[in-house]
């Protein structure tokens, strides 16, 4: 008889506690071992089972028992090696003998916080219900009184402006005959309603005409070299071949020096965040840069983990990354939650915007990115009064990240829809809605409806939207979803090769294929945007703030966003 210590299984979990239960079929499995080899978390393993067989031969029962050892694929019940549901095992199985199945009644979070370390992961908020943005419909369809446009035949200008637009009253125009020319001062003094935010006469803030869907900030380091290269190549192709001025943000940590000094630099938004990684290299490269970057993004917050800093783990800091960031190899790179050298909004925002503007001779739009928050309007109003602020990017609670505490991702942050709407209406009340572009991020394309989400945010008042997770899913087929599937970005063991610095893993990803898919995503979104704008009768300028086109089948949302309730 076994001793009691072995029989006592009080300290083991059953599979029912786990978010994914691996369904393995003995009859189909050839024991090739691919699934156990590919599993990024070693949640399954080859194991011997002892089978006792009783059999009898002859006319009368003569039962005999034998024991035989069979090999099985077993899911372990170690919480540290939980099945993430990524499905890499299913992908590699030649016989469809294995697949993880979501267990909706799991108690994973109850057990995961072991060793005093709460659950950390990558991905986005685990909430599969449709976001507010996803519930919005376009209900103002142009009909007989106002014929719809033809999405296939008419000319559409799906473009937006990144950078501060002067109020018309402050434009330095003067009349010469029947034409206007640019002079040194405004054509007439600013009216009392506006003008308070005017900078010195003659300063025309830099403005870029860009595509209204951007690739949001994801760094080299967080992304694998192949993934980042694929995104960058896709963006360059969109600009140079397709004529679509798509821009992408580098995330914190700079970009490869050759690229920075190339003519392609203009397609990139350089991000500066609280760790200032890569900025020594960028500043030193400025004299050799042949093109200005699209913009500078100052990251103050991130929707997925508001008030939280970043950490690039030591094992990800390989030679290339160390060079780009200007740090030694294989050291943890921590970005603090806030910019440590700043302590007030005037310093954190105004001075930093001015410093960054000055670095490029005031030729590059500079704007801050904050996480969605009830206090967004306080930031907004500071920026509205700052003539050098080029935009405000707000990252809502559905934004993604490479690494954060689960509690930050699931429970912290502000939905993007009402945050943007409030800010837009605040600007409308001040008559400044065209001066300071709002950029909405966080959950764009969460359920695959990228163009619809972008259009809805634009009609709520955004000038542009950022996507991150969606482009990873669409361009590199990231496994992650809102059922806590995969979400391994933080471990450096991304089974798709997206968020890893392990060559064995990122070689799985072909950068050319990523680039092709990036192009496909944008071209498809462009067609869909036309299919949305054409029936609304809009084509020439982006329908920013065209809230009469929106409807929602939820009275409280309609009231909150000041749009129509439809049912």
């Amino acid at each position: 008889m076994d001793p009691a210590t072995i029989l006592d299984q009080n300290h083991e979990l059953s599979l029912k506690e786990f978010p994914y239960i691996v369904r393995w079929r003995d009859d189909r499995c050839t024991r090739c071992g691919r699934c156990t080899a590919v599993c990024p978390v070693n949640a399954i393993e080859a194991a011997p089972h002892v089978h006792r067989k009783v059999f009898s031969e002859g006319g009368s029962p003569t039962p005999k028992a034998t024991r035989e050892i069979v090999h099985v694929v077993r899911q372990v019940t170690d919480i540290e090696r939980y099945c993430t549901g990524c499905g890499a095992c299913t992908l590699v199985c030649p016989n469809e003998a294995i697949e993880p199945e979501f267990n909706s009644r799991n108690k994973f979070l109850t057990y995961k916080n072991v060793g005093g370390v709460p659950f950390r992961r990558g991905g986005r908020r685990n909430d599969p219900t449709p976001s507010t943005v996803d519930q919005l419909k376009f209900t103002r369809i142009s009909m007989l009184t106002d014929p719809a446009l033809d999405a296939g035949r008419h000319e559409f200008r799906i473009r937006t402006l990144l950078g501060r637009n002067l109020p018309p009253e402050a434009l330095p125009l003067k009349r010469r005959g029947d034409r206007l020319v640019v002079g040194k001062t405004a054509v007439r003094p600013a009216s009392s309603a506006i003008g308070a935010n005017q900078s010195e006469p003659g300063f025309i803030p830099p403005v870029r005409e860009i595509y209204p869907i951007r690739i949001g900030s994801m760094s080299i380091g967080a992304l694998s070299p192949h993934m980042w290269e694929g995104l960058a190549m896709g963006v360059a192709y969109l600009n140079e071949v397709e004529g679509m001025p798509v821009v992408m943000c580098t995330g914190e940590g700079g970009m490869p020096p050759r690229l920075l000094k190339s003519r392609f630099a203009k397609y990139f938004i350089l991000q500066i965040a609280s760790g200032y990684f890569g900025w020594d290299e960028i500043i030193h490269a400025i004299p050799e840069m042949t093109e200005d970057p699209a913009a500078i993004e100052i990251k103050y917050g991130q929707g997925a983990k508001p008030g939280d800093g970043g950490l690039l783990m030591a094992y990800k800091v390989l030679k290339l990354i160390a060079q780009i960031r200007g740090v030694p190899e294989f050291v943890d790179l921590a970005s603090p939650p806030t910019h440590q050298t700043k302590y007030s909004i005037e310093e954190a925002v105004a001075k930093m915007i001015q410093s960054m503007s000055m670095a490029w001779g005031f030729r590059v739009p500079v704007y801050p990115k904050i996480s969605g928050t009830k206090t967004a309007m306080a930031v907004l109003n500071n920026l509205a009064r700052n003539p050098y602020a080029g935009a405000l990017c707000i990252d809502g609670e559905d934004g993604g990240t490479g690494a954060a505490y689960n509690v930050s991702m699931d429970k912290m942050g502000h939905p993007i829809a009402s945050n943007i709407r409030d800010c837009y209406l605040d600007l409308v009340a001040q008559g400044k809605q065209n001066e300071l572009p709002l950029i909405a991020a966080g959950g764009m394309g969460k359920t695959g409806n990228l163009a619809a989400n972008a259009a809805a945010m634009i009609m709520l008042g955004a000038s542009a939207v950022d996507m991150g997770k969606h482009i990873m899913q669409a361009a590199a087929w990231c496994f992650g979803d809102e059922y806590n599937r995969c979400n391994l970005c933080n471990t450096g063991r991304c089974p798709r090769g997206i968020t890893t610095q392990d060559p064995k893993l990122y070689r799985r990803l072909d950068p050319d294929v990523v680039a092709e898919r990036v192009v496909d995503v944008f071209k498809s979104a462009d067609v869909e945007l036309r299919k949305i704008f054409a029936p609304l009768g809009r084509s020439t300028e982006l329908p920013i703030g065209m809230s009469d086109a929106l409807g929602v089948a939820d009275e409280s949302i309609a009231e909150r966003l000041k749009i129509s309730y439809v049912c």
């Binding site: 637009n165 054509v187 409308v428």
Partner: protein, 372 residues
């Protein structure tokens, strides 16, 4: 659909000419109303050019309220015009109102010699105050309060209304008259929703829906100018964009077209004023329209114009002879107003065009946004 009928002439003419032209286009409108704005007045007002004229409709109670308010503000009535109503003509759809009026006033003491801008501010404030006074009870409708300008609006068939008001009796004549033949029947009929819309010498009427109405309205209301209000019709913004670009920003008239239907980036490059145009396009981005709209209007100097949106376009044609031009929705309207003209010279503005009739109806200029 609305039908538009504008005539500009070097001589005074009767608004009945506009109404008869409208009547030829009757298949294109539902005969639900008439809006008239007359500028550079003859008839009873030929000798009253220096006095601001308050145009509107009011009930008996409203008239008492209005007179009390105006005298309280220091305005002294110098002329009270009312249409000589034909009792034999069919009544307007909603019945006869108590008073249709155009009253000329002497400015309050101390204002007579003030600069025009100050007078304009006073007139606007006064009109808005009167509107507020009578809006809830619908006892007072005031359409314009400005020198040398009369506005008349009513619900019903334009020709029948013309007969009802006896517009051909010579008491009301002008050198520029804009007429529109429909109430805003897409929604509840409301007199303040009827074109043409007039603000401080700038006036437009429009055929079509305005899909960009909400962003445009929000932009205009944010300008801090008290006259940018109302918006009972999505077409009112066209008049206010004209006022804003011309009066407030001081742009030449052709930029009205450049603001509402901005050129693409590469098209801007071909213009000599590319740098200015690019700034304008950015700063006035919310004022871009997408149509379908044909806009006819005039400016304080007596220029009359027509333009179209950039894609969908509504009917619009300009024709005439030096000294008299008609800007109409349809050619039959021009034929009615100015039959003896060279039709080969008629002009239908398209995507990039603007038809501009110089003050005094001296000539028709065909301007294109693509002109370098």
């Amino acid at each position: 659909m609305c039908r538009l009928s504008a005539i500009t002439s070097s001589e005074y003419f009767s608004p009945m000419e506009n109404v008869l032209a409208l009547n030829t286009m009757k298949e294109g409108h539902d005969g639900s109303g008439l809006g008239l704005v007359l500028r550079d007045l003859g008839g009873d007002f030929a000798s009253l050019k220096q006095y601001p004229i308050l145009s509107g409709i009011c009930s008996n109670d409203g008239l008492e309220l209005l007179d009390g308010f105006m005298s309280g503000e220091g305005f002294r009535e110098v002329h009270f015009w009312q249409p000589d109503i034909d009792p034999a003509a069919p009544l307007p759809e909603l019945g006869r109102r108590d008073h249709y009026f155009a009253k000329a006033y002497e400015y309050p003491q101390g204002m007579k010699n003030r600069p025009l801008a100050e007078k304009e501010e006073l007139l606007l404030e006064t009109r808005l105050a009167l509107r507020e006074l009578g809006e809830d009870e619908e006892s007072i409708f005031v359409f314009s309060f400005y020198p040398d300008t009369v506005t008349l609006k009513e619900v019903g068939d334009p020709l029948e209304l013309g007969q009802f008001f006896r517009l051909d009796n010579g008491s009301l004549e002008a050198k520029i008259i804009l007429a529109q033949g429909r109430q805003n029947t897409n929604y509840d009929i409301y007199l303040y929703a009827c074109h043409p819309f007039f603000l401080q010498g700038y006036c437009t009427m429009t055929n079509g829906e305005n899909t960009a109405f909400v962003p445009i309205m929000e932009f205009l209301t944010g300008r801090g100018f008290p006259g940018y209000m109302g918006y009972n019709s999505d077409s009112e913004v066209f008049a206010h964009i004209l006022h804003y670009t011309q009066r407030q920003l001081g742009y030449p008239l052709t930029y009205y077209k450049d603001v509402m239907t901005p050129l693409a980036e590469q098209e801007i490059d071909a213009r000599k004023d590319a740098a200015a145009l690019r700034l304008i396009r950015r700063s006035l981005r919310p004022l871009c329209i997408d149509g379908p709209n044909c806009v006819i209007g005039f400016t304080p100097d007596g220029t009359v114009f027509m333009l179209q949106d950039a894609k969908k376009l509504r009917p619009g044609i300009v024709g005439g002879v030096p000294g008299k031009y008609a800007l109409m929705s349809e050619e039959c309207g021009v034929d009615e107003a100015i039959p003896n003209r060279d039709k080969t010279e008629d002009f239908s503005p398209m995507k990039y065009d603007m038809a501009i009739i110089k003050p005094g109806a001296t000539e028709l200029v065909q301007w294109s946004q693509l002109t370098p």
